[in-house]
Amino acid sequence: MKRTLSMLTLGLVVGLASHLAYFRLHVPAATDTLDGQLAWMRTELQLTDAQYARIKALHEASSPKLRAMAAQVAQLQGEFTAFERIRRTSDQVDFLEFARFVETRRHVSRECLDSTRQLVLASAEVMTPQQRQRYIRLVTTAEPLAQLLLN
């Protein structure tokens, strides 16, 4: 009985050890950097070295502009929240200010979509038709992009 129990325990320990060791070696590393995302794109779309270099350059070039726009959109979102708070508390709305805000937001949104479309189309240009098809399918999973690219 002792032997049976020790063999069962040994089997359990060996199984667990092999499981944990293999999992730790092969588990995908978490990365949210541009390089990590582009490396994922390279694997996902099976890009060649030249394609990868070109797409990477395109993304790196547009990344600062896109980040700045994201910050601008976030700021506008904050302003809208402030407008809404004032409207609820004082029941007053500065319509001129709000109209200016709406106009700015419309302009920024249009600019964001244009920048994104330019980047997506420039990247797609570098790809083969099959890669492009997969890439467009991938980016159109986001609703605003889908509307923008499919129209």
């Binding site: 089997g11 499981h19 293999y22 994922w40 980040r67 959109v73 976030a74």
Partner: protein
């Protein structure tokens, strides 16, 4: 008196009888008493066995003990005990033990591979989402909004 007592009274040669009219000395081949050297020595147990005629009384708990033993035998032959015995006999063989441990390791690797595939799929979906956020500032803000 037992059978041995009868044998002792009659002697090793049995009752003295003639064989088809011939005297004992003539029928040499039938009578071992013709060879005195073959007589067995007297067994000291024989008189004791002759005196032993009392049958001992069975113990008071004999019936209970018999039933207890039967019950124990039935427990030992139950399916779980059979499995245990079979398992022990299998593990007593070194090749089986080695194969068992190797199978455990392979099972661990297989399950790890399944987990890795699942993690890669999830990671891929997460990277797709974060890539879309990277290229679309509007999406970035939309996704950050609910966290506030």
């Amino acid at each position: 008196m037992g059978a041995r007592g009868e044998r002792a009274r009659e002697g090793p040669a049995g009752p003295a009888k003639d064989f088809e009219g011939l005297s004992r000395g003539v029928v040499l081949c039938l009578l071992p008493s013709a060879f005195p050297a073959m007589n067995p020595p007297p067994d000291p147990l024989d008189p004791l066995l002759d005196r032993w005629s009392v049958t001992p009384e069975p113990p008071a708990r004999l019936s209970a003990e018999v039933w207890q033993r039967i019950a124990l035998n039935q427990v030992d032959s139950s399916p779980s005990a059979g499995w245990r015995v079979m398992l022990e006999s299998w593990f007593a063989r070194p090749p089986f033990a080695v194969v068992f441990v190797a199978s455990c390791a392979l099972l661990g690797l297989f399950l790890a591979e399944v987990r890795v595939n699942h993690a890669q799929r999830e990671r891929s979906e997460q990277l797709a989402r974060s890539y879309l956020q990277l290229i679309d500032p509007l999406l970035t803000v939309q996704n950050e909004e609910p966290r506030r």
